[in-house]
C-alpha cells in the first residue's frame, strides 16, 4: 500500500505512515480548524491498511506535543481501529512519547491506554527540546 505522508502545518501534525514497513508516526501539534477534514484521509488510509489480511507487526509512534479536545476524539478513533485489529491477531505496538515534566501529556497517554487490551502500549519520556 502507498505510504501516507502529510507535512506538518502550524496547527496540524506531520503524518508519516509507511505501510510497507509497518511503521506509522504522528508528530507535532494538532488543533485543526476542521478536524474532520484533516483526519478524514488519515482514518481512511489506516482503515484500508488494517483491513488487508496480514500478520506483519505494526509500530505506531505518537509523538504529539499538544492536541485539542476535538483531536482527542480523533485519536480515540485511531486507537479503537488499532485495538480492533490487535484483537483479531495483528501484533500492534504503540509508543506514546511525552516530554519530561509534561504531566498533562503523560496523563492523556494513560487515558488512551486504559482502553487498550490487545495493543501493546508504552509510555516513553523524551527530553524537552526547548520548543513549546
Amino acid at each position: 500500500m502507498e505510504p501516507l505522508k502529510i507535512p506538518a502545518t502550524g496547527r496540524t501534525p506531520e503524518v508519516d505512515f509507511d505501510f510497507a514497513a509497518g511503521t506509522l508516526r504522528l508528530s507535532g501539534e494538532s488543533y485543526p480548524d476542521d478536524v474532520a477534514t484533516f483526519f478524514g484521509p488519515v482514518f481512511a488510509a489506516l482503515r484500508a491498511f488494517l483491513a488487508e489480511p496480514s500478520d506483519a507487526p505494526v509500530r505506531f509512534d505518537m509523538e504529539l506535543l499538544y492536541f485539542n479536545s476535538s483531536s482527542a476524539k480523533a485519536l480515540m478513533n485511531i486507537f479503537q481501529m488499532l485495538e480492533t485489529a490487535a484483537r483479531e491477531g495483528r501484533p500492534i505496538a504503540v509508543t506514546w512519547c511525552y516530554e519530561e515534566n509534561d504531566e498533562s501529556m503523560q496523563e492523556l497517554g494513560e487515558d488512551f491506554a486504559e482502553d487498550l487490551h490487545h495493543v501493546s502500549f508504552t509510555l516513553k519520556q523524551v527530553p524537552a527540546d526547548g520548543a513549546p
Binding site: G10, L65, S69, E107
Partner: protein, 183 residues
Amino acid sequence: MLAEQYAAIKRDLDDKGIIFSFSGYLSEGILYSLGEALREKMTLEETDGPTVRRVFSVFVEQMQNIIRYSAEKVMGSSAKPVELSAGMVIIGMEGDKVFIVCGNTVLNTDVPRLKERLDYLKGLDKDAIKTYYREQLRESPDEGSRGANIGLIEIARRASEPIDYDFHRMDEEKSFFCLKVRI
C-alpha cells in the same frame, strides 16, 4: 482628549493585570494568530514548556467555544467558508497565576443546559474530572455540539482552581456568558 480616553482604558486593563485582550469578531485564523502571540510572549518570559501548553490548551478550547457557540455570528462563503463569531478573550496575571476570561452572548434557551454542565464540572475534584474526561472521550458528541463536550472538561482539567462562570441577561433572547479559568 483622544489619548486621555484610551490611556484610561489601557490603565484600567493594566490595573487588572491584563496583558492581552481582544474583543470583536473571532475566527479560526484569529485564534491561530493570537495563540502564537500568546506562546511567544510566554516563551520569552521563560515559562516552561508544559505550563505554556497548559495555558495554550485552555485558550484554544475557550476560543473554539466562542467560535462555535457564540449567539452572535456572521456567516459567509467566499472561496472558503468564513465563520465570524463575536466575543472577547482576556488573558492576565493574578499573583503568580495566569487567568483567561472568555465572554460571548448565548441564547437564553441554552443557559440552563450550559449552567448544569458547568456546575457539574465545578463540583468535581481532579480525579473525578480525569474519570469524566475518559468517559466522554468514548462518547459520541451530543447533538448540536460540534466537536466535543470534552472541551469544557479539558478546560477544567488544566485549571488550577475550580472554574468561575456567570451569566448576565441582556434581553428576552440573549445573555452574556463569562468563563474565568485560572491556570
